[in-house]
């Protein structure tokens, strides 16, 4: 664990020099709609380094769409998204990845035919350089690069405790493990922001606890900022630093878990009367 963090922090330091921006991510009043549907309707918020920021809201409120907007998979019609002070608008998704935004998906989106190792190595794609000719010839640079990155990936595999699955095609792995691999693939990108879309959905208590532990470790030890979308209030209210509540694409509350939890609108739109059940 310690090994990962130290190395990773060092790599990050090398890549992105000293900090000269006020917010890591600054979402400014974005509007996104699909024929008819207003998926995101004027949402603004900021996320700072190392923060664990949660987004909750009813189904179809626009949480995933918000992620997709930040990734530029969807292109909001209005508003702006600043990453370290620079706008992300109009970039291609793969560029946002290079800039340091990593992501896991609501419905697992791993590469089922590839092994755990390969999946996580693809995460390293943005951090590698060698082209196809060098690769095909397996010459010096490409080769050494492959090996270096293999080491990095191994350290992530250790961290997530999935050594035993290393060489299995992920398609064959249990749901819970796949969720972990997905986290691993995201971490492999050396991100500064990690967006988790319902990381514990469909997990039993034990797996939820494991996942929670990894999330917290990522935050504390790797100092990666996290945006968490999750319907498990037990988890969110427990580990989030700040919470944003969406409803029908609109922002109905932001603040500390406790405040949000108490907010009548939130209860009405989302939590429902009997909170303790969650």
């Amino acid at each position: 664990m310690a090994l990962v963090s130290s190395k990773l922090l060092q790599r990050r330091a090398e890549r992105y020099g000293p900090k000269e921006y006020d917010h890591l991510l600054d979402v400014r009043d974005i509007h996104l709609s699909f024929k008819g549907v207003k998926a995101v309707d004027g949402v603004s918020f900021t996320v700072d380094d190392g923060e664990l920021f949660a987004i909750i809201g009813p189904n179809g409120a626009g949480k995933t769409s918000l992620f997709n907007s930040i990734n530029q998979v969807y292109h909001p019609q209005e508003g702006d998204i600043l990453w370290k002070g620079e706008s992300l608008m109009g970039l291609k998704p793969n560029v946002t990845a290079e800039r340091g935004i990593a992501r896991t998906f609501q419905n697992i989106a791993l590469y089922p035919h590839m092994t755990v190792l390969e999946n996580i190595l693809t995460g390293r794609h943005v951090r590698m350089r060698s082209g196809w000719i060098a690769g095909a010839l397996w010459v010096g640079k490409a080769k050494s690069e492959e090996i270096e990155n293999r080491e990095i990936v191994e350290s992530i595999i250790d961290f997530l405790e999935i050594e035993q699955w290393r060489k299995y095609p992920v398609g064959l792995l249990p749901y819970g493990i796949q969720k972990r691999v997905e986290l691993g693939r995201a971490l492999a990108m050396d991100p500064e922001l990690l967006m988790l879309d319902e990381p514990v959905a469909g997990m039993n208590l034990e797996e939820t606890e494991d996942m929670a532990r990894f999330i917290l470790d990522v935050q504390d030890e790797l100092q990666i900022a996290i945006i968490l979308v999750e319907h498990d209030m037990g988890l969110v209210m427990d580990i989030a630093d700040r919470v944003l509540v969406l409803d029908f694409g609109q922002q109905i509350a932001t603040g500390k878990p406790a405040e949000v939890q108490a907010n009548p609108n939130v209860i009405k739109a989302y939590l429902g009367e009997e909170l303790e059940s969650a």
Partner: protein
């Protein structure tokens, strides 16, 4: 480039004007393409199978009709004094029923086991099927084309401004009627069942949809449509000598139609077929320029296809693949 077809003399116009001739030819080609395309689409729509054996199946159907109507003379032999067209229609109906059964059989034996495999693994199976059927059928057909034995012979409507063979008139009518009926059929409960099945067999079965039935029906329809197409291909004036060893390849010409219309859209199949037919006929009438060389009209459908896909990557009516995370 070698000099292509050039009309050297002043034009001696016979039979109708160039334009109407072109239109008739286009419609008659187009409806055949439509029949082939729709059959192909139905099978794809319901079973996710790209049926490369479609042409071979068509040839088989054509041969069956030929043998019923001429060689075996069924049911003609039992109704000696019925009018020619009655016994011919009889033969056709019998052949169609037989082909429906054969279609089901093929699906059951060769494709059912492949359910759920990779699209293209299945495609290769149908390719194997094509090789098998084509060789067997061609051996039956033999070196001599087999005429359809239809009662229309060379009869022609001469309306002055256009001459159209009875066979072509019939063909256009029948084809449009058939594909129309099919299109309606697909609005039905069965239609949805087919789409559901194609998308997710397990989920479909969970809804009580009998996937096996869906597959059988779609293959039956596919085979029948292919046969109808084969009949009209193998008649005067297109192939007056009848179904021969080349008939099986005709189906390839329907591919651009399928794509232009959209792989999984029946309406698309129809529209695509007509577009391609007309385009081809128009091209061969108006684009016989020397510098274009030989066979330019033949690739016009493909050029059209490329154009359409540039504007609409899923054809005119195709449903687009869901891309979401």
């Amino acid at each position: 480039m070698t000099p292509a077809a050039v009309v050297l003399a002043q034009e001696v116009t016979l039979g109708g004007n160039e334009f109407t001739e072109m239109l008739v030819e286009g419609l008659s080609l187009g409806t055949i393409y439509a029949l082939l395309a729709v059959g192909f689409v139905i099978i794809f729509k319901a079973t996710q199978v790209i049926n490369f054996a479609h042409g071979a199946i068509a040839a088989m159907g054509g041969f069956l009709v030929a043998s019923m109507a001429t060689i075996l003379d069924i049911p003609g032999r039992w109704l000696p004094d019925a009018p020619a067209w009655v016994s011919w229609v009889g033969s056709v109906v019998i052949a169609l029923v037989a082909m429906a059964l054969i279609g089901m059989m093929l699906e059951r034996v060769f494709l059912r086991p492949m359910v759920g495999e990779e699209l293209f693994a299945i495609a290769i199976v149908t390719l194997g099927l094509d090789i098998v059927i084509r060789n067997v059928v061609n051996d039956f057909i033999g070196q001599f084309p087999r005429p359809m034995g239809d009662p229309f012979a060379l009869a022609i409507f001469d309306l002055g401004w256009v001459r159209i063979a009875h066979t072509e008139a019939l063909q256009i009518a029948v084809a449009l009627a058939t594909v129309g009926a099919i299109a309606l059929f697909f609005r039905s409960r069965m239609g949805i069942a087919m789409r559901a099945t194609a998308f997710d067999q397990e989920a479909a079965r969970a809804q009580g949809i009998s996937v096996g039935k869906v597959f059988s029906i779609s293959w039956a329809i596919g085979a029948v449509l292919a046969t109808v197409a084969a009949i009209f291909i193998s008649m005067f004036p297109r192939r007056p000598a009848g179904v021969d060893q080349q008939t099986a390849f005709f189906a390839f010409k329907a591919f651009p139609a399928i794509i232009i219309g959209g792989l999984d859209s029946i309406i698309g199949g129809i529209v695509g077929g007509l577009i391609v037919g007309l385009a081809e006929s128009a091209a061969s009438t108006y684009l016989a320029f020397e510098f274009l060389g030989t066979g330019f009209a033949g690739i016009v459908p493909y050029l059209l296809m490329l154009l359409v896909l540039l504007v609409r990557p899923y054809g005119l009516f195709g449903t687009e693949e869901i891309r979401r995370v």
